[in-house]
Symmetry: C2
Subunit: 231 residues, 2 copies
């Protein structure tokens, strides 16, 4: 499958690497190619600059947001949540139309330091805003509730955990589910929460996620929903 | 220990029953005793009216908010989150002072139907509001992230799950931890998240909790945090 990933940060890179390993044709997209290639030094997570990563991952095509959205039959929003709507507008409404858009972004504002706050919450969610702004796209929120390395390697945890799906289009959720299964997620651990408004819940677990990261001193954790046996 | 529980709903009743079983002297408090006793018919959860419950639990003393707060050396806020600040004011600042106040309430607004919204979130929490309003009390948020029956019977789930503590006073958190252990929680599964501002995270998992209740068709579940083994 031709997959376009918007966003060249740790999430975009991690998803892109996995998709190439799985045999997909992948393009990763950025706002400005020259600016992204010109970055030197490590990022906030201590990772090498994009140009170095791309040398080691030369099978992944590199494009603008627009080129990447046009290239992909299936799209992934891995941009910073604060800039996601803007990035998707640059990608172009027509390039996004009639495609599944897997939205991994979180509306986290780190500008006032730790802990971050949410720019959208409670009665709305970023996923809903994206779906409203691009009504022809089939937005499915998933994978936003855990660190990048675990998104594509759930088996790194000592026991199965859960991942959530939120979206209005049942077929689009099935496509995302297949992708998650190819990443190593077990079907029984993928919870379809319902329509896109259920993304309010999955986005609002980020505040406890961020605090757990501090408490546990590692981002390598995930939520498991333990349910009582039926009577 | 003499324990005062503010709130006569399912959470207050469940906690009161457990505390009596554990040998504590318990009073459960309400805004208006006559009004609470006059209720007939089942509540929203299909439970019998308070008066019937109290006949079966006659060892539990029944008082006003003020009598209950005065009675308890250790207090539990099991009132409806929307009315908690008001209820605690009626209980009386002096009656709350210098005591641990275990806050189980959630700022959920069901007035516009399902799903409920939060009346406070993101940059504040109900627990913080309570702590600010009653600065002499030692507020510890806990148990608000699961259904009443599991609060006092965590062993009803097929595997250990987690419970959170949020509060500014380390000794108060230790007292609450001891109580949780007496309820059946294992010490290693009680996560001290830090100061009272971390209650933002635990209160904001209610939106996904409510949606999971719908998806799973049961409230009998809880979150388990699965962490990768250290390298």
């Amino acid at each position: 499958m031709k997959i376009g990933i918007l966003g060249t940060g740790v999430v975009g890179q991690t998803i892109a690497e996995k998709l190439v390993q799985l045999g997909h044709n992948v393009m990763i997209g950025t706002r400005g190619k020259q600016a992204t290639l010109a970055k030197t030094g490590k990022d906030n997570f201590g990772r090498p600059p994009f140009s170095e990563w791309h040398k080691n991952n030369f099978k992944i095509e590199f494009g603008t947001y627009s080129e990447t959205a046009s290239f992909g039959e299936f799209l992934v929003n891995a941009t910073n949540g604060i800039g996601s709507i803007d990035a998707l507008k640059i990608a172009g409404e027509n390039n996004l139309a009639n495609k599944v858009l897997l939205d991994i972004s979180n509306p986290l504002d780190f500008s006032k330091g730790m802990p971050p706050t949410l720019t959208i919450c409670n009665t709305d969610s970023l996923a809903e805003q994206i779906q409203r702004t691009f009504p022809k796209s089939k937005v499915v929120k998933s994978l936003n509730t855990l660190t990048a390395m675990l998104m594509t390697n759930p088996g790194l945890l000592p026991e199965p955990t859960n991942i959530f799906l939120n979206g209005n289009d049942g077929n689009a959720k099935e496509e995302v589910k297949k992708l998650l299964i190819s990443f190593g997620w077990k079907e029984k651990n993928i919870i379809d929460m319902g329509d896109i408004t259920t993304a309010r819940g999955t986005e609002q677990i980020l505040p406890i996620w961020v605090r757990l990261w501090g408490t546990l001193q590692t981002p390598m954790f995930n939520f498991k929903i333990v349910v009582a046996a039926k009577n």
